[in-house]
């Protein structure tokens, strides 16, 4: 696995000779003439700063990217002059439609701009008088435990594909870094939530673990994106809205709102990515549908697991709010799938049957 260089450069007289020439002031300076397309970009909106959209013009624009990258498998930045001898770093995602979403640069900028730090931005002292019963406190700790698992695996999944993505798609790589960061923050925030005060963690939910592994073990990046960004984070967003809705103190309200905003960025990328992919390669729809069929099946197990549904019931004060939450979320998810170009998934998804099971 390790890369062994073609020479032991410490023994290479050429290197020493090069160094001696430079030390003596004999500079080559031919590099000064190797300039790519000239650029002098400035912020188009001063208050916003210099964004990726501001610098994505001309030779530096992602619009110039071909669908299939053939010329660069190194870390040479897009738009740089590519000399001979650049090695391949082994990137596996080399088709634009495998990863691209036009909204990615904007989401990257927004992810940075709307950052928050759990340690000091969450009003933790509000938990001193939480405003809810001990039973609800247990329920929140269990839900927090589930959210920690989600954060951990979402971070793993983003990382798993980031390092395989060609550097020509650097906006996507940057966004994946934001996803890693945001997901790690979910795990951090909800670990702290579960432990704050008289704290303890709950029980690992095996069905949730199966569902998360289904995402993590996706065979392709588009499958991982659809199952994580579209499916998983539709539910995370819904859960976070519900957390805010049921919150009885400022800390939980804060966590619910921030989680909702972060989760929605995952969704926004997922919708645009899949839509872009299916526009370029409609043939991929079948594969994605098959994968989602199976991931949704795994998620049904988690949604019905005692470790997930029961704390929701306690938090919500009964069955109706939770059934309503599930129904609304399924509808919103299907709307997103449709927006992503997957059409109406209702007839093949296991969700409608599950909702009927819930009600009948």
């Amino acid at each position: 696995m390790s890369y062994i260089a073609p020479k032991d450069y410490s023994q290479d007289p050429e290197i020493v000779a090069k160094i001696m020439r430079t030390i003596s002031g004999q500079l080559d300076l031919s590099w000064m003439k190797k300039i790519g397309e000239r650029a002098s970009f400035r912020p188009s909106q001063p208050a916003r700063g210099l964004t990726l959209d501001d610098i994505n013009h001309g030779a530096y624009s992602p619009d110039r990217l071909p669908e299939v990258v053939r010329q660069n498998f190194s870390m040479a930045p897009r738009g740089a002059i590519l000399p001979e001898g650049l090695p391949s770093l082994g990137y596996r995602l080399n088709r634009k439609s495998d990863v691209w979403a036009d909204v990615a640069p904007q989401l990257f900028e927004e992810g940075k701009s709307r950052r928050w730090a759990p340690a000091h931005d969450v009003p933790w002292t509000a938990l001193a008088e939480p405003g809810h019963s001990e039973e609800v406190a247990h329920a929140l700790r269990q839900l927090s435990t589930n959210l920690i698992s989600i954060g951990l695996v979402a971070c793993d999944t983003a990382a798993l594909w980031e390092w395989r993505t060609n550097q020509e798609f650097h906006e996507i790589k940057y966004l994946m870094c934001v996803q890693m960061y945001d997901a790690a923050r979910i795990a951090e925030a909800f670990r702290k939530r579960s432990l704050a005060g008289d704290g303890q963690l709950g029980v690992d939910c095996p069905e949730l673990g199966d569902f998360l592994k289904a995402i993590f073990a996706s065979d392709t990046y588009p499958e991982a994106s659809a199952s994580m960004n579209l499916l998983l984070f539709s539910w995370v967003q819904a859960l976070s809205r519900h957390l805010e809705f049921t919150a009885t103190n400022a800390a939980d309200a804060f966590l619910g709102t921030r989680l909702a905003q972060d989760a929605t960025r995952f969704i926004a990328y997922g919708v645009d990515h899949i839509r872009n992919l299916l526009h370029a390669r409609p043939v991929e729809a079948q594969r994605l549908d098959d994968h989602l069929d199976l991931c949704e099946n795994a998620l049904v197990g988690a949604l019905g697991a005692p470790e997930l549904i029961e704390p929701l019931l306690i938090l919500s004060g009964g069955f109706e709010p939770v059934a309503g939450l599930y129904e609304r979320t399924v509808n919103e998810y299907f709307a997103r799938c449709s927006a992503a170009g997957l059409g109406d998934r209702r007839s093949r998804s296991p969700f409608p049957d599950f909702l009927r099971m819930l009600r009948s």
Binding site: Q45, A47, R48, Q106, E109, E110, K112, S113, R114, R115, Q237, R241, H242, E244, F245, A247, T248, N249, A253, G256, T257, R258, A260, Q261, A263, T264, R265, I267, A268, V271, D272, P321, G324, L325, E332, A335, R336, S338, A339
Partner: protein
């Protein structure tokens, strides 16, 4: 002088608050959405760009808005009253709470992505409405 709610003057006053409380809105980050607030039959269009509210007007085309928060006047009045009294929305009167269950406030949109902008920028939108605590508001 008291500002009537709902009115375009009310939303213009909130717009000014996003400039007056620049640091607060900047800390929350970019907010880029043009949305509607429908109070009964009255529709107001509110545009946010970068960190602040840049434009408010009465009316608008819902098809061209990211989303429209729709509700009866009584609900909106109750929300604003709670914000003024509590110096910010309490748990029962946040935008998310009121739109989460039932048809108290509805989030209407032409497409799923527009709808999702409500959640992406919710903290900023809540802060926007919470600024009503600094106004002398007269409810209709």
């Amino acid at each position: 002088m008291a500002i009537r709610f709902p009115s375009v003057e009310f939303f213009q006053a909130l717009q000014q608050r996003t400039k007056d409380e620049k640091a607060r809105f900047e800390k929350l980050g970019y907010c880029d959405t043009t949305f509607g607030v429908r109070i009964g039959k009255d529709l107001f269009t509110i545009a946010f760009e970068v960190y602040e509210c840049v434009h408010v007007h009465e009316g608008g085309d819902p098809e061209r808005l990211d989303f429209v928060l729709t509700g009866p006047p009584a609900v909106w009045n109750e929300m604003i009253a709670a914000i003024v009294k509590g110096k910010g929305a309490d748990g029962l009167h946040t935008l998310n709470t009121l739109s989460h269950v039932g048809d108290v406030l509805r989030v209407e949109s032409v497409d799923a992505e527009g709808n999702d902008k409500f959640y992406r920028y919710m903290a900023s939108l809540q802060e926007f409405f919470d600024q009503a605590q600094h106004l002398d508001v007269k409810l209709s």
